[in-house]
C-alpha cells in the first residue's frame, strides 16, 4: 500500500509542472533517439562490412599451416587437404569447406606485365564459401578443374588490357623454388567491390595450380563457412580438436583481418566519445530541473515530514520521479529512433561523397540500418543510469531536512 502511494505521488508530482516535464522529456527523448540511430548505423555498417569481407573471399574460419597468414610461404602447406575437408565437413555448424592454394606471380598479357596473386581453387567447392563465382560480370566462372582457365579481377583485367577469351601468362616460383610458368585463358572477369581483390586476384583450378607450382596434392588453406558468425569461438575449438597435425591451426576472420577488427573497435571508441558528451549535456539538464523541483518543494517536504512521513520515503519518492522521467523520455526516444532506423533499413542511409571510403570497407553506397538490441539499448541505458546516479545528489540532501525549518522556507 505504502509503496503504491509513493509511486502515485511521484507520478503526479512530475506532472505538476507540465511544461517543465515536457521540455525535459523532449531533451531526453531527442538525445536517446539520436543515440539509437547513430549506434544502429554504426553497428549495421560493421555487420555489413564484416559479412561482405567474410563472404566475398575470407570465410569465417580458415585452417592454415601455423603462422602461414603472417608469412605465406609456398612450402608451408597442408599435406592432405581432401581428407581434412571430409573430416571437417561432418562438424556441426559448418555449412561449407573449400581448399585453396596461393602464389605471388608476375602476370602478363600481350601488352602488359603486372604483379598479382594466384589462388588455386576447387571450382565446385569454391562456390559455397565465396561470392566471387557469383560476381563474375563478364564471361563465366571456372567450369572444370582440369583446364587452364582463369577468372580475374576487373581492375586487373583493365590494367592488363585483356578481356574474356584472351590469354594471360603467369610467371612465379614453384613450391620447390624452381621457376613456374603457365598460360591461362581468361574465362571470366569478376567485380567484387573490394579494391584489393579486384586489383590483384586471379583464380585458377586447384589441380592446375598444383601442377604448375609443383604442389602435389597439397593446399595452403582450407576456407570454412559457418552457419552463423556468432558462435565461431566454439566452432573453432571443435575444429582445433580435430586437427591432429600440430603444424596446422585454425584462424578466425578477426585474426585473419586484424585491420578490420581494430578499425571497428577504434570507430566504436571514437563514437562513444561523441555519445558521452551528448549524454553529459542531457544529464546536466535533467539534473537542473530535478534540483529545482526539489528546492521549490522544501516547504511541502517539511509538511510531509511533520505529518510523519519518513525522510527515506521522501527520497524514494523523488528518486522515483527521476526514474519515471528518464524512463518515459528514453522510451519515447527509443521509439522515435527505431522508426528512423527502420526507415533507413528500407531506403538505405546514403552518405554523399563517401563512395571511396565505403569501397574500402566493402560497403554499398547506401547502408541499410538494422535494429538490434545493442544498438537500441546501449545509449539509452547509459542515460538512465547516469540520471539515476546524479539524482541522489539532491535527494540525499533531504535526509538533513528539519520539518520546522523546512516549512519556513519559501
Amino acid at each position: 500500500m505504502h509503496k503504491a502511494v509513493i509511486s502515485v505521488l511521484a507520478w503526479r508530482n512530475i506532472w505538476r509542472n507540465r511544461r517543465r516535464t515536457l521540455l525535459t522529456l523532449l531533451a531526453v527523448a531527442f538525445s536517446s533517439a539520436v543515440l539509437v540511430f547513430f549506434m544502429s548505423l554504426q553497428l549495421s555498417s560493421y555487420d555489413t562490412s564484416i559479412n561482405a569481407s567474410v563472404s566475398i573471399f575470407q570465410g569465417h574460419l580458415q585452417v592454415q599451416p601455423t603462422g602461414y597468414f603472417k608469412k605465406p610461404k609456398m612450402y608451408h602447406f597442408i599435406r592432405e587437404p581432401r581428407a581434412l575437408i571430409k573430416n571437417l565437413a561432418e562438424l556441426k555448424g559448418i555449412t561449407a569447406v573449400a581448399p585453396r592454394a596461393y602464389a605471388y606471380v608476375l602476370v602478363s598479357s600481350a601488352r602488359r606485365t603486372v604483379g598479382a596473386q594466384v589462388a588455386g581453387v576447387d571450382p565446385e567447392l569454391e562456390k559455397n564459401v565465396s561470392t566471387i563465382p557469383g560476381l563474375v560480370r563478364e564471361g563465366e566462372y571456372l567450369s572444370a578443374d582440369d583446364l587452364y582457365q582463369a577468372v580475374i579481377g576487373q581492375d586487373l583485367a583493365h590494367n592488363l588490357g585483356v578481356s574474356t577469351g584472351e590469354q594471360i601468362t603467369v610467371l612465379g616460383q614453384g613450391q620447390d623454388g624452381s621457376m613456374a610458368a603457365a598460360a591461362f585463358q581468361v574465362v571470366g572477369i569478376f567485380q567484387s567491390g573490394s579494391r584489393d581483390l579486384d586489383r590483384a586476384l586471379i583464380e585458377v583450378p586447384l589441380k592446375i595450380f598444383q601442377e604448375v607450382f609443383y604442389l602435389g596434392d597439397a593446399a595452403h588453406t582450407i576456407v570454412i563457412k559457418a552457419s552463423s558468425r556468432h558462435r565461431l569461438a566454439e566452432l573453432k575449438k571443435n575444429i582445433s580438436a580435430r586437427l591432429k597435425n600440430k603444424k596446422l591451426s585454425v584462424y578466425s576472420w578477426e585474426e585473419l583481418m586484424p585491420g578490420l577488427k581494430q578499425a571497428i573497435e577504434l570507430d566504436m571508441a571514437s563514437g562513444w566519445l561523441f555519445y558521452i558528451s551528448l549524454i553529459l549535456i542531457v544529464v546536466f539538464s535533467v539534473f537542473n530541473t530535478f534540483l529545482m523541483s526539489i528546492l521549490e518543494r522544501t516547504r511541502e517536504f517539511g509538511v510531509m515530514l511533520s505529518l510523519g512521513m519518513k525522510p527515506a520515503s521522501i527520497i524514494k519518492m523523488v528518486i522515483l520521479e527521476n526514474v519515471f522521467l528518464s524512463l518515459l523520455g528514453v522510451f519515447s526516444g527509443i521509439v522515435i529512433g527505431s522508426l528512423v532506423v527502420i526507415y533507413y533499413g528500407i531506403h538505405g542511409f546514403y552518405i554523399p561523397g563517401a563512395e571511396e571510403i565505403m569501397k574500402l570497407w566493402n560497403l554499398p553506397t547506401a547502408v541499410k540500418t538494422r535494429l538490434s538490441l545493442r544498438g537500441t539499448l546501449s545509449g539509452p541505458a547509459v542515460i538512465i543510469a547516469a540520471n539515476f546516479v546524479v539524482a541522489f545528489i539532491p535527494a540525499l540532501k533531504l535526509l538533513r531536512l528539519q520539518p520546522v525549518e523546512a516549512m519556513r522556507a519559501v
Binding site: 517543465r20 531533451a27 610461404k73 605471388y104 602478363s108 590494367n159 616460383q173 581494430q262 534540483l291
Partner: protein
C-alpha cells in the same frame, strides 16, 4: 535614440542581476552550455587531427602537392605513359611558382624476387637529393650515395618487405618489370639500405633505386614517369594547379586532393557529420536553457507584473529574458572555448591510438593523432550556440511578455 540606449542599458543590467539571483541554477545551465561547446570543439579538433594526419601522410608518401604526368598515367600508371626529361617548358613554369621541392621520378609497377619469395611492388627511380624534405624516403635515406655505393645497382626496400622476402641487407634481389619495348626486363640489385615507414603498407609497396639505374634497366634513357612538386605556401595550391593545367595541356597535372580521393572524401564527410553533430548537441543544450528560463520566469511572475505596472512594455520584458539567455550563452561559450583550448594544450603531444594500430593502418593514418583546432570549427560552434540558444529563448521570453500586470501580481502567494 537616447531613450532606447538607456532602456537597453537598464535591461542589460537587470538581466545580468537576474542571472546571478539563482547562482546554482545558472551554474548548472552554464555547465551544460560549456560542456556542449567544449565537446563540440574538442571533438572537432580530434576529428580534424585525423584528417590532417591522413593528408600529411598522403602528401609525404611520394605524392607531394602537385604531380605532373604524361596523359593517362594516373588511370594506368605503366611505362607506356612516360615523357621526355628535361623539359624546358616545365622547368620554366616551375621556376615561376613558389616551389619548396621538385622531384623527378621513374615510377612503374614491378616484381621483386629474392631467392625465396616474389612480391609485386612499385619500382621508384629517384634522385635522393631531390626527395629530401619532399617525401618520406628522402628523409629516411640521407646519404645520397646509397645507390652508387653498390656500383649504381643499390636498392632500398622497406622493413616489412625485407621480412616477406626473407632476405637481408647486403643480399641481392632481382627486379622484373616491363621495359619500353613491352618485354620483361630484369636486373639484379644489392640491398644497400632498409627503410622504416609509419605504415606497413608503405614498407611493402615501394622499392627505390637510383633514377639512372631505373632508366637503364627499363630502356627509358632521357625519360621519366612523374614530377612531384611541393609548395612553400599551401594556400596557393589551387591557383598553381590551375595555372599549370592551362599551361601544360599536353600533360596531366593533378593536385594531391585529386590523387588522394580517400582523404578528400573523409574531409567532406567530416564537414557534414561535424555540422550535424553540432546541431544535435546544441539543440539538446537549448532544451535545458529554455527550461531554466521558464523556471526563472515562473519565480519572477510577480516581479514581471510589477515592472509592467510601472511602465515596462511587453517588448522590454521580452528583451530582459533574451538578454539573460544571452549572458548565459556567452559565458557558457567562453568557458567552453577555454576548456577546449586547455584540452588541446593537454593533448598537444598527440593521442596514442596504437592499441588500434592495424585499424589505423587500414584507414591510412599513423598511430598518433594530434588535435587540429580550426578557427572555422570554433566560429561555427560559437555562432550556432548563440543563434540556436537565442532562438530557443524567444519562446519563454514571449510568454513572459504576454503576462498582464494584474494577473501576474495577483499570483503572489
Amino acid at each position: 535614440m537616447k531613450a532606447f540606449s538607456a532602456r537597453a542599458g537598464l535591461l542589460l543590467g537587470l538581466a545580468f542581476r537576474n542571472m546571478l539571483r539563482n547562482p546554482r541554477r545558472s551554474i548548472l545551465t552554464l555547465s551544460a552550455i560549456s560542456v556542449g561547446v567544449w565537446s563540440c570543439t574538442s571533438l572537432a579538433a580530434l576529428a580534424r587531427g585525423v584528417g590532417a594526419e591522413m593528408a600529411r601522410d598522403a602528401i609525404y608518401n611520394l605524392t607531394g602537392h602537385i604531380q605532373i604526368h604524361a596523359p593517362d598515367y594516373v588511370e594506368d600508371p605503366s611505362i607506356e605513359h612516360r615523357f621526355k626529361w628535361p623539359n624546358q617548358k616545365i622547368n620554366r613554369l616551375l621556376k615561376e611558382i613558389d616551389t619548396a621541392g621538385i622531384a623527378v621520378r621513374v615510377r612503374v609497377p614491378a616484381v621483386v624476387a629474392s631467392e625465396r619469395e616474389t612480391r609485386s611492388v612499385t619500382l621508384v627511380g629517384i634522385d635522393p637529393a631531390q626527395e629530401q624534405g619532399l617525401s618520406f624516403i628522402g628523409d629516411k635515406i640521407s646519404a645520397g650515395d646509397l645507390f652508387s655505393a653498390a656500383g649504381k645497382s643499390g636498392i632500398v626496400i622497406g622493413r616489412a618487405l625485407l621480412d616477406e622476402l626473407e632476405t637481408k641487407q647486403g643480399k641481392r634481389v632481382v627486379l622484373l618489370s616491363q621495359n619500353t619495348k613491352n618485354e620483361i626486363a630484369d636486373r639484379g640489385f644489392r640491398i644497400t639500405a632498409v627503410f622504416d615507414a609509419e605504415l606497413e603498407s608503405t614498407e611493402k609497396s615501394y622499392v627505390f633505386v637510383s633514377r639512372e639505374a631505373a632508366q637503364t634497366m627499363l630502356g627509358m634513357q632521357g625519360e621519366v614517369s612523374e614530377i612531384a612538386v611541393t609548395l612553400k605556401d599551401k594556400d596557393k595550391l589551387h591557383e598553381y594547379v590551375t595555372r599549370l593545367k592551362q599551361a601544360l595541356p599536353e600533360f596531366e597535372v593533378h593536385s594531391w586532393r585529386e590523387l588522394e580521393p580517400l582523404v578528400t572524401a573523409l574531409n567532406s564527410i567530416q564537414n557534414g557529420f561535424l555540422f550535424l553533430w553540432y546541431l544535435i548537441v546544441i539543440v539538446t543544450v537549448a532544451f535545458g536553457l529554455v527550461n531554466t528560463l521558464f523556471m526563472a520566469i515562473y519565480e519572477r511572475t510577480y516581479e514581471i507584473g510589477l515592472t509592467q505596472a510601472i511602465g515596462f512594455s511587453p517588448l522590454m520584458v521580452l528583451f530582459e529574458v533574451v538578454f539573460e539567455s544571452f549572458y548565459l550563452l556567452i559565458s557558457g561559450a567562453i568557458i567552453g572555448n577555454i576548456l577546449a583550448l586547455l584540452t588541446n594544450l593537454w593533448l598537444k603531444d598527440g593521442v596514442d591510438v596504437s592499441a588500434f594500430a592495424r585499424g589505423t593502418e587500414m584507414i591510412g593514418v599513423s598511430s598518433m593523432i594530434y588535435p587540429d583546432q580550426r578557427i572555422s570549427d570554433l566560429v561555427a560552434v560559437n555562432i550556432l550556440v548563440l543563434i540556436i540558444g537565442i532562438a530557443g529563448s524567444v519562446y519563454p521570453a514571449w510568454r513572459a511578455s504576454r503576462l498582464t500586470p494584474v494577473e501576474a501580481m495577483g499570483r503572489r502567494e
